[in-house]
Symmetry: C2
């Protein structure tokens, strides 16, 4: 069965991709370019990961409108993304980003007659965004069921209840090429080490007892 | 209260805009440009209608990915959109288009702290697309409730159960500038008169006993 896999190029989505491959799906990877600071690094990661797995067909969708959200650090390089500022103002939150991504994935899934959409959202042990909750995923599934002709597309979120350290362990077991992934919210040549995503990644590898090849 | 109003520039969305104005909302109109054949004419209509109402702030979001759906007549000018071909292959259907539009509207509504989103979808007396059904709208409302921080954005679909002729009557009553609207799926200087949208419009004006200023 064909599956759309949302692949940012980070730890979570790449592990989700590995799960989809492990389960035998025909993979159609989808990357959303929303003019975020990390867009160049993420796209490099997306391509390198798919080269690693020998997956040739790739979808990159341009979604420039999020870059208008100027108070959001993910898309505005003028803002500080270090954890101190991040905790204050939730600079890294982009309203309904996963809703928009899943909607586009659904449109493509229906057009391509794919039976599944894989998304690497995590409810717990993450940043607590509303559009990562299982309740949101369940509601989106209902929306897909009623809003598509056949209603036969299943949302798959295999890591939604894992802790980040468990994602590292799962990825390790499945042979995920961690060295090719990109987690940092910033777009510098090397991970900043100060944003929430860098800190969560570091902590997850430490707890899992796995060496992060990027550090 | 601020409301995002999805405004293509057609009869249904313009009447929906008129309802939102009539109910006293602060209007933030949103147009999605998905590289459809009628994009130029729709954008002209969008601007003319908002000039008519004296609404200055306007959002136009570029959404180029739908144009890859080459078997869809709405975005592929090589295909015939006359009713005969349309009835055969549903050329005018774009999978989950309203899902994508509502998701983007939701992201913008949350960012702008708008309390409502108006959409001119119609379940009956239309083309029977799944993402025009009330069930879909109800499910999308649940998705908004669980997928946004405050869960306080209400989807408003005031014409969902009207017949198209009733939309004409309602628009007529509210003073909708029908002469500025654009319904044709094609992008020629004048409406083609042969596509499903042109035929539905003609029939609706006839049933309502109102003269369509475009014909």
């Amino acid at each position: 069965m064909k599956a759309i896999v949302l692949l940012s190029g980070g730890l979570d989505s790449t592990t989700t991709l590995a799960v989809a491959i492990d389960r035998g799906f025909e993979i159609l990877p989808l990357h959303l370019n929303y003019r975020h600071r990390a867009q160049k690094k993420e796209l490099e990661a997306f391509d390198a990961i798919l080269n690693h797995y020998g997956i040739e067909r790739r979808l990159v969708v341009e979604l420039p409108f999020f870059s208008r959200f100027e108070k959001r650090g993910l898309v505005n390089p003028e803002l500080d993304l270090s954890v101190e500022s991040y905790n204050d103002s939730r600079l890294s939150y982009l309203p309904f980003r996963n809703g928009v991504m899943l909607a586009i994935a659904t449109a493509i899934a229906e057009e391509e007659e794919a039976g599944a959409i894989f998304a690497g959202v995590m409810e717990e042990d993450s940043s607590g965004y509303p559009d990562c909750r299982e309740k949101f995923i369940q509601n989106f599934q209902q929306t897909i069921n009623s809003g598509t002709k056949k209603g036969d597309i299943t949302l798959m979120t295999p890591i939604i209840h894992l802790k980040k350290s468990e994602v590292v362990l799962l990825g390790n077991k499945l042979g995920v090429p961690f060295h090719l992934t990109w987690s940092c919210y910033g777009g510098d040549e090397r991970p900043c080490g100060r944003c929430a995503s860098c800190l969560l990644r570091r902590s997850a590898f430490e707890k899992a007892g796995v060496k992060d090849p990027l550090t």
